[in-house]
Amino acid sequence: MSTFLWVIFPYICLALFVGGHVWRYRYDKFGWTTRSSQLYEDRLLRIGSPLFHFGMLGVVLGHVMGLVVPQAATDAVGLSRSAYHTIALVGGIPAGIAAVAGLAILVYRRRTTGPVFSATTTNDKVMYLVLGSVIVLGIWNTIAGSVFHFGGEYNYRDGVSPWFRSIFALDPQPELMAQAPFGFQAHAFLAFLLFAMWPFTRLVHVFSAPLGYLTRPYLVYRSRDERPGATSGSRPPRRGWERPELQRK
């Protein structure tokens, strides 16, 4: 069982994550959108969206720090365990609260605003369920585990983090997760499930965050590209006696 949960399952999810994005980019470029509901309702959104998104940025940064950077490395640069712990909480708790609060506002808005709810698909709802669960579990782990030490002290950098890195090192160590507290197990499991779903949901918008806009001039002119093959969209040019009027001969 633990082999399945902590070796097989993660690899499947990662494969889906990678392959799914390739497929999505190739075959559903026009669908690669978050289907923004800003036009329907923008007041709650103005609060909830930045709250959630910036909170998540902080959360992601914290995960990089906690999962990717080995404990040995932080030790080596002189960051004590308690100092790390403080930094993690001082940064993580606000980020987490922001993410949760933001998500709560967004979900409330989505459920109670008529047009917004009408525009919500089943795919969205499932995604919200999984994403929300991951986030809630995450904050639970932080508060219950790292703050109040429910179920005893547990240093995830001894268990979860090395396991995480072991997946990518192609030398998986399932026993590390098998011994982790249930909350971390659930969080990790659902996170990988989220990764598996990711490319098939609106979350793909994360990878098309418009960073380029920071440096983009306001007016973008695009002239025709006469290079062969450059103007193909999803339809090949039509032959026939009756040409659409707008197409130049």
Binding site: P217, G233, S234, R235, P244
Partner: protein
């Protein structure tokens, strides 16, 4: 120094982009020029891409007749866009294109609408009965049908199920069986005139119209008229012009110097044409809008004349008063004088009759009183012409040159007969007609004239003097003299009661008088009248009045129109580009009318056709006459001309005198009559006369409730009778269909019933055996039908389309084949015809059919009633002579087994007899031969060797080849025939196009302009815009009237008796007096009483488009009633509240639209909203709310069923009682329970 972007940080950031891209960033950092990266364009290119574009149009009776591009992608119709390839109108003039409105742009949605009829449907209980019966009788569907309709219980079962759902899918084979069997049975048992077809407005799709019409006429069933039924028919037009709705194209509005929109809300109802009205203002045209509400057209106008609804006649009369006084009495204007001498009846002499009532005694005491009488004709006088041919039909004038009477050419007496060749023209020769007797009079006479402006509408009288001469022992005067008296324009020395000035409100027709009626300030009226006349003088008659339903849907609209037409005609505006009347209602102008009529009514196989006036048909057959407490006395002028007669009595009299058509005609089958005549060894006409005079045979209209006189089958296609045009809708449901209804009115009490009509106590319900509708969407008509056939839409068939508004012919073309199981009308009716012919072998064979036809306009039959004196053979006043004092009786031999062959080939009459349209004969041997080659020839059967009419394109080409408007050779030939009668040159009008033949293929390429033809009164020669009667004015061709001129005066007995010899103001009917409705403005538990008007919707064309999702989204999404904020306040209604409107005819439940644009006391329910979308159950009776016509009822005006008297003679859609409905009032209240149920 470049301004850069806002903020130094942004500027710096953006400025770095140039180092990271190959694209060029501008110096000011505002723009970046990239090459390519346009893969995303595929998104909109994909959206726009299509596989083909097909030209088609919309056949919806909107008059737009716009050519559209229909786009097809992957075999799906996706959208449409306006065509922009109309022929140019020439220099210095805007173009017609683009044409198209929001309604039309939404049509493609219908192709895949959820309410599209995809399959044939039959009422479930009926289908079950039919299948069982068929098994029981051993397979013959005719016998099966017989067994059902002859069993009262079965009949009641399926009839009472009408409108209650239960439509079950069937197959084409089965439904065609049922329909054909029902038709065969009915022809066999009751006779063919117990069957009727209703499809309106041929112009919108004549081939589709012809599909059912041709079949029905071949079997001898009547087609019901539409123009009069829709109340769109202006009876003033035949009365005055002898022509029906010949009007300018919209491009001619550009030519007018002064434009009045009077009862026509142009931006809403002529959407694609409205631009002409706005553009012409930049040329200096003054635009005036007459409208009770702040309608869409008002904001474009220079002046708004806010006349109260239905009072337009008073407004027009008072404008006439000013013009007559200032331009005919105070001075004589040469332009007006010459025009009226030539083109109107102003100079014609009228004899005065002594007044035998005491109306004249009351006024002015002393002196004999007279009433206007008959035109003085040659036969009345002691002059050489009195013995000439048709002498009783040649009215006289006084010649200023000789001081004596003269008989000018051009009257109807010259139109027919041998002596008239070359003399039927308006060339006065040396005659200089006196417009007035004043100045050469030998005395004056006091004439008693009626006025109807009392609130209760009852007549009173006023005495006015006219100058007179003595002729043939009688006092005579001119029409102008009578007009001046009628209009209250005083002259020196005339006795009587005259107003003291424009500001005298006590007597008609001063500006102050009208102000009390219309609320239009007197000052405005005076000023506009002067402007109008002065413009006519300055521009040579370029003053135009656009008219429409707002002034035409009233009971007395003929009088409203006559008063308006006085303004255009006495000022010389009629018959000019940019001048005259412009009456726009439905899409009336089927330009290739000749070819259309002959093909649609199967005149190539049988003549005459059966044509029925639909208003009278339903007045009788939905038993509305039984609820009519409105007697003929209510419309007479106290002369007693109708004493003791109800409207129904007058109808019966009109029928038996051959004035108006009536089908069913006799109380016996017309086939049986022929058989009986043969058995008796008599000619059928003689036999019928004999039977009628002995009373053994009666007219069906005298006993409508008898089962042998019931209508049995009604077919609807291109029509939505029960959701749109059925005035008295609830009576249809009750009496005709035999199902649930909301009638609460009581039948007429004994003292208000017609005297000559059978009146059984029990009135049958459910007279109709079969109601069949062909449509592509579910409407009230399909939901009430027994059989529903799926029709192809306008993007799925071939047909043509013409309109009054422009001179082009458009084609329909299929963008896709008819989907699901739908068929084009032509294919559907062919299928019925084929099966009918097969079943006829055993049941009918060849039969002879006695066809009764009324006396026709544009034929010598219209000279039946000398002087318009009514004499009835029933009372022995005159001998019963078919075609003179009786209907025309013709025997048609119908081989019922050959109906399909005849339907699909052109018959021999075209070559043996030729064509006749509006009195002009045509030889079409050449055209028929061309069609043999074009369409191919039928082999075998009744049509062997004849040109085929197999496909809809064949029919279209036949129509186009057989009309002068699309065949220059035929037009030229026709004009040459007319020239023989007029003696004046005419054929040069078409000569420029003599070799041109417009084919269907031509119309597929681009809109094609038509050719000037004798079928119409206007000329398009040289590329001029079309205006009516330009040929009459410019080429001195007579109008088709008694005098040959435009007539302000009418002297038929009934019209004189009604006090309407001259234009006179008649107010809207007083519904309180007549029907006991609550008085306008009064309030009680049922709400407030308001005038109920049903003008045009913005978001639909009648019931079409109303159920289209786009239109529903733009409008309120269901039935709505507009009311003023003042009335809303009275009944506590806020915008969008549910309200109910109730009167004696029915109930409507709708949402309120509250607006200050509405005048107090009037509500608008836009017509034909149908009752399929968002119509709840009512509080009043717990059933579904009705349609707009649930609150109306048929009201017939007797003057509209006059016949056999010059221009007052019948022709299909030319003249007739109208389905007027604007005089209605209703109670309206807020629903106490705003939570509605469905």
């Amino acid at each position: 120094m470049n301004p850069g972007l806002d903020g130094p940080l942004t500027n710096a950031l953006v400025g770095t982009r140039r180092y990271f891209t190959r694209s060029e960033v501008s110096d000011d950092n505002r723009s970046i020029h990239a090459k390519g990266g346009r893969a995303g364009d595929a998104f909109y290119r994909d959206r726009w891409s299509h596989d083909k574009v097909v030209r088609s149009t919309h056949g919806v009776n909107c008059t737009g007749s716009c050519s559209w591009k229909v786009y097809v992608k992957d075999g799906i119709i996706t959208w449409e866009a306006q065509q922009t390839d109309y022929p140019s109108t020439g220099a210095d003039r805007p173009e017609y294109e683009p044409r198209g409105c929001p309604r039309g742009a939404a049509f493609s949605w219908y192709t895949y609408s959820p309410t599209r009829v995809r399959f044939p449907y039959v009422r479930g209980v009926l289908l079950e009965m039919f299948r069982n019966a068929r098994r029981a009788v051993g397979g013959d569907p005719v016998l099966a049908w017989a067994s059902i309709v002859q069993d009262p219980d079965q009949a009641r079962r399926y009839k009472s199920a009408r409108g209650k759902g239960g439509l079950v899918r069937s197959t084409w084979e089965e439904v065609v069986d049922i329909i054909a069997a029902a038709h065969v049975y009915t022809v066999k048992r009751w006779g063919p005139d117990r069957i009727a077809g209703f499809s309106p407005i041929p112009a919108m799709s004549p081939v589709s119209y012809a599909s059912g019409a041709r079949f029905l006429e071949l079997i001898g069933a009547p087609m019901l008229s539409f123009y009069d039924w829709y109340a769109d028919l202006p009876n003033a037009s035949p009365q005055m012009f002898g022509d029906q709705t010949d009007v300018p194209e919209s491009g001619d509005w550009w030519d007018a110097g002064y434009l009045i929109m009077w009862g026509s809300n142009v931006p809403l109802t002529r959407t694609p044409d409205a631009h002409w009205m706005t553009e012409a203002r930049y040329r200096g045209q003054k635009v005036v809008a007459v409208s009770p509400d702040y309608a869409e057209n008002v904001k474009f106008a220079d002046e708004w004349v806010a006349a109260a609804p239905g009072t337009d006649g008073a407004l027009a009369m008072s404008m006439g008063h000013v013009i007559l006084k200032e331009f005919f009495v105070d001075q004589q204007v040469d332009f007006f004088t010459r025009y009226n001498q030539h083109y109107t009846d102003l100079p014609f002499l009228v004899a005065l009759e002594p007044d035998t009532t005491d109306a004249g005694a009351a006024d002015d005491g002393g002196g004999a009183a007279y009433r206007p009488g008959k035109y003085v004709v040659a036969g009345d006088l002691d002059i050489p012409e009195s013995t000439s041919e048709n002498a009783m039909w040649k009215p006289a004038v006084l010649d200023a040159r000789t001081g004596d009477v003269a008989i000018p050419n051009g009257s109807i007496g010259f139109r027919y007969g041998e002596e008239g060749w070359g003399r039927w023209n308006l060339d006065l020769g040396d005659i200089d007609p006196l417009l007035t007797v004043h100045g050469t009079a030998t005395g004056t006479a006091r004439v008693v004239l009626p006025r109807f402006d009392a609130l209760d509408g009852k007549v009173s009288h006023v005495s006015r003097g006219v100058p007179v001469r003595r002729l043939g022992g009688r006092l005579v005067t001119t029409v102008l003299d009578l007009m001046l008296a009628q209009y209250g324009v005083r002259r020196e020395g005339m006795p009587g009661t005259w107003p003291t000035g424009y500001d005298d409100p006590s007597t008609p027709a001063t500006p102050a008088w009208q102000e009390e009626i219309t609320s239009v300030p007197a000052e405005q009226v005076v000023r506009l009248a002067r402007e109008w006349a002065e413009n006519a003088i300055d521009t040579g008659g370029r003053g135009m009045i656009l008219m429409g339903a707002g002034t035409n849907h009233w009971f007395h609209s003929d009088q409203i129109y006559r008063a308006m037409l006085v303004l255009t005609s006495i000022t010389g505006c009629q018959g000019r580009n940019g001048g005259g009347w412009a009456h726009y209602v439905g899409q009336e102008k089927i330009r290739p009318i000749m070819g259309f009529q002959h093909m649609a009514f199967a005149l190539d196989w049988h003549r005459p056709p059966r044509h029925m006036n639909q208003t009278a048909y339903w007045y009788v057959n939905t038993s509305q006459y039984r609820y009519d407490t409105f007697t003929a006395d209510d419309v007479d002028a106290g002369t007693g001309v109708f004493t003791g007669k109800g409207v129904m009595d007058l109808l019966a009299q009109s029928v038996r005198l051959g004035w108006t058509p009536s089908y069913p005609t006799f109380n016996r089958s017309s086939l049986v009559l022929a058989d009986e005549a043969d058995a008796a060894g008599m000619a059928p006409a003689d036999y019928v006369v004999d039977q009628l005079t002995t009373g053994a045979l009666r007219f069906a209209v005298e006993d409508p409730e008898a089962e042998e006189n019931h209508p049995r089958i009604l077919s609807l296609w291109r029509a939505n009778l029960l959701g749109s045009s059925a005035k008295g809708n609830e009576y249809f449901l009750k009496h005709l269909l035999g199902t649930d209804n909301a009638v609460t009115a009581a039948q007429a009490p004994p003292d208000q019933r017609p005297t000559g009509i059978e009146w059984p106590d029990d009135v049958p319900e459910g007279k109709l055996d079969l109601l069949m509708t062909i449509d592509f969407r579910m409407t009230s008509s399909t939901l009430f039908s027994d059989v529903v056939l799926p029709a192809a839409t306008w993007y799925e068939k071939h047909d043509i389309n013409t309109t009054d508004m422009h001179p082009f012919v458009h084609s329909f073309n299929p963008a896709i084949a008819p989907p699901w199981q739908s068929k084009t009308d032509w294919e559907a009716w062919k299928a019925v015809a084929k099966r009918f012919s097969e079943l006829a072998v055993d049941h009918l064979g060849t039969r002879r059919d006695v066809v009764a036809k009324p006396l026709w306009h544009d034929t010598p039959e219209a000279m039946a009633t000398v002087h318009g004196v009514v004499r009835d053979w029933r009372t022995g006043e005159v001998e019963p002579v078919p075609g003179r004092t009786l209907p025309v009786l013709v025997v048609a031999e119908r081989d019922y087994t050959a109906v399909f062959d005849k339907m699909t080939s052109i018959g021999p009459l075209m070559e043996t007899v030729g064509m006749l349209t509006k009195g002009v004969p045509y030889d079409v041997d050449r055209e028929v031969e061309i069609l043999r080659h074009r369409n191919g020839v039928a082999h075998g059967g009744a049509g062997d060797g004849q040109p085929r009419l197999q496909t809809d394109i064949h029919v279209a080409d036949a129509i186009l080849h057989l009309s002068g408007t699309t065949n220059g050779h035929l037009a030229t030939h026709g004009f040459k025939n007319v020239e023989k009668r007029t003696g004046t040159p005419l054929h040069d009008l078409a000569a420029e196009h003599e070799g041109k033949q417009i084919t269907f293929a031509d119309t597929q390429v681009a809109p094609v302009p038509v050719i000037t033809s004798p079928e119409w009164s206007g000329s398009e020669s040289g590329g001029r815009r079309y205006a009516p009667f330009t040929i009459n004015i410019e080429r001195l061709k007579p109008f088709h009237t008694l005098t040959g001129r435009q007539q302000f005066y009418l002297d038929h007995d009934w019209i004189l008796g009604m006090g309407e010899a001259l234009p006179v103001y008649r107010p809207p009917l007083n519904m309180t007096e007549l029907f006991g409705e609550t008085a306008l403005g009064e309030q009680n538990a049922l709400g407030v009483s308001v005038r109920y008007l049903t003008p045009h919707n913005k978001w639909s064309i009648h019931s079409e488009y109303q159920d289209n999702l786009f239109m529903l989204s733009l409008s309120r999404g269901g039935q709505s009633i507009w009311l003023s904020d003042v009335d809303a306040e009275k009944i506590g209604v806020r915008d969008n509240d549910w309200v109910e409107a109730v009167n004696r005819n029915g109930v409507v439940a709708a949402r309120a639209i509250v607006s200050h644009r509405m005048p107090e006391g009037t509500v608008y329910m836009h017509h034909a909203q149908d009752r399929l979308i968002d119509v709840p159950l009512t509080e009043t009776h717990g059933r579904r709310g009705g349609i707009h016509n649930s609150l109306t009822r048929i009201m017939m005006k007797p003057s509209h069923i006059i016949g056999g008297y010059a221009q007052l003679a019948y022709f299909f859609n030319y003249i007739g009682p109208t389905g007027n409905n604007r005089d209605e009032v209703t109670m309206i209240r807020r629903r106490s329970n705003q939570d509605v149920e469905y």
